[in-house]
Symmetry: C2
Subunit: 439 residues, 2 copies
């Protein structure tokens, strides 16, 4: 029975049953199931502010917090506690993430001539404030602090707030504090879950509201973000993490297996899928997955996650690409002879990892791209978190008198067709001759 | 009493009462008030599909529609009916809108080196489908068809659906049909209101669902979009149209008044605000507004709208800019000696119109920028509709073996700090020496 410890779906793609296919493809998250609880907490925070934060934190995090804002003294202490080696790693990550997200920003102002004498353009202005939700509690996720705060600061957001749940001791992990500080967070609060999202949306006595809330979180946090989306803008809903790997004969089974196991250790709900046209590779990877799974620290989590995962044999790379596009994976690894050609056929994915030396773990931490990515098929519509999420694009136009004259027919004819005669008149009033000193 | 026909607030900015200020600044839209009706219609469409569309259309548009899809024959007939002059105007508009939105698109794929041997980049992929809501019924809004469909097509969306309410005769205005066709719409349906939004979100027997719904609409349409935001992505909530004008002594009262009246003719809820540091200009514009309002066709609408509007005297251009940034206007006109300097101090606005010859009407129709813009203060957080709204940004990375070796410490140290040992292992497994033929 030892061999059966780690079960994952192993099948020809063409023989995938309807139920199996649907489990892989329609893996939406059921936020409705938690909504009653979420609504209750949100209402409480909206009504009672800090007092609600205090009670809800006691209820969910098992600790009564006196002061929600993390003070300078605690941040300094954290800085002393965190080993130099980790600080150096975080510094490299911050540098690469900042460099990449700078590239994502458009020029701060550009204009182009759309019609002779008519210049139209776009100006980039950052949001005034943003809130980053950083999961915590039992574990520390310094990388999530980097991935949410750095892009906001790169975009120019003046006030970036971090909310992260306290541990049973009422403290935030030193590692998360150091990461948030290094990333440039302006305010850090020890509050998590639905109550943190509600606090950032409505504001409380100590936490001023923000304009947009970003960052990963469990189903409660996602439900709260979706619920409050009319009050505050959000990045995207978040479900369990997932990877899909398209591989051919050039791939190394040991490497593929290690990526599937790495994905599986995140969460019992995580999904890893390998799609390959090489049957030998499929079999060898299955053997390797079973072998590596036995050696991994988070064995129970990995076991549950693998039960949701699959190794699928495709008839061709094209069939594998087709399946991947339907799946719309959060992470997509393309480990084939010519990854760039496959890349250009990809329609939906959060982030893509090309070639044998680009593990998802690189993007999780240090290649510079963002790891806050659309899961559960949301990649069909959503992009991952990026610098653009923190700016507004304001369009601009400036027309000369001659330019307006040239456009006046087009404007007035359409305006009148829409029954908006005063619109047409606003053009004509500009084209009458006036005394030169008034122009 | 004739003089009192058109009343608008006329005050020093510094003397603005709390209630008056709040009416101007906190002008959110109360979607909750219509939500019960919206929920009822949405549920009906989700349950009964086309039959619900049929009943709800009869209920709200007063006509029983047999076939919702507008046929080729109708589009051809519409093309014959619309005057050449209007077609020419629409063509110019399409050309300028397409040219401008092309400029908004990022390169389809770029990569940059974030660390030696590590390339990170971004690929643009259009959404598969989008739905454009084009208001209709009594009036025709061809420009809304252009502003929603052209950017989607420029972005490369394959399937762009237009929904627009039928008139009492069960027909869609020829002008709207011609505009939608010219813009590149793939499917046009004669259905409006909440039922159209629900149909595009869930799909019915005749209308397949879309990935994102954009376009202006009344409070019911906005409420439906917000309600369905977990099912389908939307552009932004829409409230009544508005303009804020920052002007100095160089501006022409007659021109300012014509822009305020043009704004006012949209809707009884529309708001026009002039803020100027020039008291003579303020007085002269008030006189002009009253004069022009009497001559306008939509006099009753203008009267109601002006009652919500204001002419405010600022102590300086800086104070005017500050007020504008708090107001976050949909349309912002800057008619001052040096508009570019003022522009760079603008933090929130939908679209900005610089100088004396750039009426809002130019952006509404023909300068090329989009007229689907954030109203009701949403410009504090949202951008107007743009080409980016129709694409996904997929990040990409490719690392060489040496590049991964260089990054490996940063990755593994952070991974282990987060308790994710298998993540670290996925890096190490790639760096072991293997037989050359397997690499």
């Amino acid at each position: 029975m030892e061999k059966e410890l780690f079960v994952l779906l192993f099948k020809k793609l063409s023989e995938l049953g309807e139920e199996e296919g649907s489990a892989l493809l329609s893996r939406g998250i059921d936020v409705q199931s938690v909504m009653p609880t979420v609504v209750e907490i949100v209402n409480d925070v909206q009504e009672r502010g800090d007092r609600a934060l205090c009670d809800q934190t006691e209820r969910f995090d098992g600790v009564r917090v006196g002061r929600f804002r993390v003070g300078e003294d605690e941040i300094e202490k954290a800085d002393e506690e965190v080993p130099e080696k980790l600080k150096k790693a975080l510094e490299i990550a911050v540098e690469n993430i900042a460099a990449f997200h700078h590239q994502q920003l458009d020029r701060d102002l550009w204009m182009t001539q759309t019609s002779p004498g008519a210049m139209a353009g776009q100006m980039i202005v950052p949001l005034d404030s943003a809130g980053a939700y950083v999961p915590g509690g039992r574990a520390a996720y310094p990388s999530s602090a980097l991935m949410t705060v750095v892009p906001a600061k790169v975009a120019g957001v003046e006030r970036v707030v971090v909310c992260t749940p306290p541990g049973k001791d009422g403290k935030v992990s030193s590692i998360t504090l150091v990461a948030a500080q290094m990333a440039g967070a302006d305010e850090i609060y020890r509050v998590g879950g639905v109550q943190a999202v509600a606090a950032m949306a409505f504001g409380t006595e100590t936490i001023r509201p923000v304009q947009k809330i970003v960052g990963p979180g469990n189903i409660y946090v996602t439900a709260a973000k979706l619920l409050l989306r009319s009050t505050v803008e959000i990045d995207m809903p978040a479900g369990p993490s997932e990877v899909l790997i398209i591989a051919d004969y050039t791939a190394e089974p040991e490497v593929l297996a290690s990526d599937m196991i790495a994905q599986a250790e995140h969460d019992p709900q995580s999904i890893s899928v390998l799609v390959t046209d090489d049957e030998d590779l499929a079999i060898a990877t299955k053997v390797e997955v079973e072998k590596q799974a036995k050696e991994v620290a988070r064995r129970e989590i990995v076991k549950k996650s693998l039960a949701k995962s699959a190794i699928l044999k495709a008839g061709s790379t094209e069939e594998a690409i087709g399946f991947s596009n339907s799946f719309a994976p959060e992470h997509l690894e393309i480990i084939v002879r010519d990854p760039m050609t496959v890349l250009r056929q990809i329609r939906s994915a959060g982030s893509v990892f090309l070639g044998p030396y680009t593990p998802v773990a690189a993007g999780d931490y240090a290649s510079g791209t963002n790891h806050v990515l659309p899961t559960s098929g949301y990649a069909r519509v959503f992009s991952g978190l990026n610098a653009d999420a923190f700016v507004k694009k304001i369009t601009v136009q400036q027309i000369s008198k001659d330019g307006l004259r040239l456009l006046s027919d087009a404007i007035t004819v359409i305006a009148e067709a829409e029954g908006l005669a005063a619109h047409a008149e606003s053009v004509r009033k500009r084209l009458v001759e006036r005394k030169p000193e008034n122009l």
